[in-house]
């Protein structure tokens, strides 16, 4: 059986959890097995996980699980995996999922591969693939243990509805105690977090100053994208650091990355190599970013960007 840990946030199932359940369902099909989802703590909408391919949904509810502690969560997931006889355990490749994967690997004596982006194959051992060297290569790994643990890269699979809602059932497993206490969570509400964003509009030094960012925000709004920036821009505080995309900042993997006034240094490319489609707008036709782009526009961004925003608005109006 394939066990998927379904992440929640503020008592709601995360979008990433739906992707993980879809992936778990596809993995179960390859193995001729079934997919079970596990929710820790209070959450609304657990039954929805059934629609994405979980044939069973279990919930462990305990006051200890209100906040995330990798020690406690990994203990519960590992206990559940053993109790339910899971052969594959899947988590998201998220801030919390990454803290769980290694622990689960040790607890379950299971080989682990992090950040997988394809459904496993079994014709030649249990094999999965992932992107390595910041998107500059792909690696295929074989896991040799009886139990396998995987973390799923965001936006690697689509959450697809395949079935009916399934009523969640309480699962009774031991909950260990932890030594980490969450004091505070600060989130920028109402915005899609950059690492999860499906579309990103990113701008750099070509913007000339923070006061010019209005056209970027307007474009992002019309496209339905998160905003991002290059390192030099974050370093001089034109934009907040949590928007910095690149080697030392955030790695994004959207379907659409629009880079505006960014030259495309190798450190920046390391953060965007996994984007599906890259659009580069730059006045310098020699900007290295064009080599990594799918579509390029050479022109003055202060003219091109508003024009692009208008074109998107028209497209949106036409779509109704």
């Amino acid at each position: 059986m394939v066990l998927v840990f379904a992440e929640t946030q503020n008592g709601k199932i995360k979008k990433a959890a739906l992707e993980a359940v879809s992936y778990g369902h596809q993995t179960a099909q390859v193995l001729g097995s079934s997919c079970t989802a596990l929710v820790l703590g209070e959450a609304e909408g657990m039954a929805e996980l059934g629609k994405y391919g979980a044939s069973k949904v279990y919930q462990v509810n305990n006051p200890q699980l209100r906040d995330f502690d990798s020690q406690v969560y990994a203990g519960v997931i590992a206990n559940a995996a053993q109790q339910l006889g899971a052969s594959v355990v899947i988590v998201n490749h998220s801030a919390n999922g990454k803290s769980l994967l290694g622990r689960l690997s040790v607890r379950l004596q299971a080989g682990a591969v992090s950040g997988v982006n394809t459904v496993p194959t079994t014709t030649n051992g249990f094999r999965v693939r992932k992107s390595v060297f910041s998107g500059k290569a792909t690696a295929e790994y074989e896991i040799k243990t009886a139990i396998k643990v995987l973390s799923l890269m965001g936006n690697a699979v689509q959450a697809v509805q395949v079935g009916e809602a399934v009523e969640a059932v309480a699962l009774d497993v031991a909950v260990p105690t932890g030594r980490t206490k969450v004091l505070e969570v600060k989130r920028i509400e109402g915005k899609t977090p950059l690492p999860e964003a499906d579309k990103v509009v990113s701008a750099g030094r070509g913007m000339k100053g923070p006061e010019n960012w209005g056209i970027i925000e307007e474009l992002a709004e019309v496209v339905g994208a998160a905003t991002a920036c290059s390192r030099p821009v974050a370093d001089v505080h034109w934009r907040p650091h949590h928007e910095h995309v690149g080697q030392t900042g955030i790695a994004v993997r959207p379907n659409l990355y629009i880079a505006i006034g960014i030259s495309g240094a190798i450190q920046h490319l390391a953060g965007v190599n996994n984007s599906k489609t890259i659009v580069v707008i730059n006045k310098d036709p020699e900007a290295p970013f064009f080599k990594a782009a799918d579509y390029g526009v050479v022109g003055d961004l202060f003219e091109v960007v508003p024009r692009l925003t208008e074109a998107f608005k028209k497209h949106r109006a036409a779509e109704g």
Binding site: F68, S70, Q71, S94, A95, K98, S99, L101, G102, R103, S105, V106, Q109, A110, G111, V113, S114, F133, S134, K136, A137, A139, E140, Y141, E142, K144, T180, K181, V182, V185, R187, K191, T192, P193, P195, E196, K199, V223, H241, H242, Q247, T248, G249, A251, N255, L256, Q267, K276, V279, K291, A293, D294, Y295, V298, V304, R307, L308, A311, F312, H315
Partner: protein, 246 residues
């Protein structure tokens, strides 16, 4: 505080990516290695700051062969007191974590720091494995850390924000940008580092549970399609009909 900092080597960001042994191993031929930036810039420097402010020692641990001593000396030049090299070629995250845990379990460290991931395999696995093997709390992606009366107050990156946690007792931390500022060693420190203790210990036998079977370079990107800057409707059309991303 007695702090252990795990340093890994990675190919320089600009290094050529190529594979050998029937595409099962990274080709290190002619590659310049650097200390993994997250280990060096953030984990190591924050450990040094804590010890400078409150006393204690910072020990470096690396799983690697003798050729890596140059990089270990660089860590010592930045300010660590001493270093341990576990004499083996690291083959997987599990192997690395296991070796470090075997070494650390009898040494009573107050904290173990490492970078959030290495910039080559981008695994982010060793910290959590190490914490589990040593039965310690683990805080990943730390962007700020203060010690307050034996407790660690740590701010960590989460999707779309930060989370502040309090951790009691010995802990493992993975460092993200913001935890500290990169330090450059001066000539005097580089000279002093040559005589700092570097102990070599032999690895413990352990079997790999995961093996790399194939590496591939991505298919060559098709040439960029240039769009007339006057015609953004065409770009939107291509994004919709050709790229199918909107």
């Amino acid at each position: 505080m007695k702090i252990l900092v795990c340093l890994s080597k990675t190919p320089d960001t600009t290094a050529k990516i190529a594979f050998t042994d029937n595409n099962t191993r990274y080709d290190e031929n002619g590659v310049t290695f650097i200390l993994n930036p997250y280990d060096e810039w953030y984990a190591l420097v924050r450990a040094l700051e804590l010890v400078e402010a409150g006393g204690g020692t910072v020990t470096i641990v690396t799983v690697g062969l003798a050729a890596d001593d140059t990089l270990i000396r660089k860590g010592l030049a930045i300010g660590a007191n001493d270093a341990v090299r576990i004499n083996a070629q690291p083959t997987s995250a599990y192997f690395t974590a296991y070796q470090i845990a075997q070494y650390a379990q009898s040494e009573n460290y107050d904290a173990i720091f490492l970078g959030k991931e290495t910039i080559d395999y981008n695994g982010a696995e060793v910290g959590a494995m190490l914490a589990e093997m040593l039965d310690m709390p683990f805080t990943s992606f730390a962007n700020h850390l203060d010690m307050q009366g034996g407790k660690a107050i740590i701010s960590r990156d989460i999707e779309g924000g930060t989370e502040v946690v309090e951790v009691e007792g010995p802990f493992v931390l993975s460092a993200a940008k913001g935890l500290a500022e990169q330090r450059i060693a001066n000539m005097r420190n580089i000279m002093m580092a040559k005589t700092k203790p570097l102990k070599v210990v032999e690895p413990v036998a352990v079997e790999d549970t995961v093996v790399a079977v194939n590496f591939e370079l991505p298919p060559k990107k098709t040439a960029v399609k240039m769009i007339d800057p006057e015609n953004m409707e065409e770009l939107v059309r291509l994004l919709r009909e050709e790229a199918k991303v909107i």
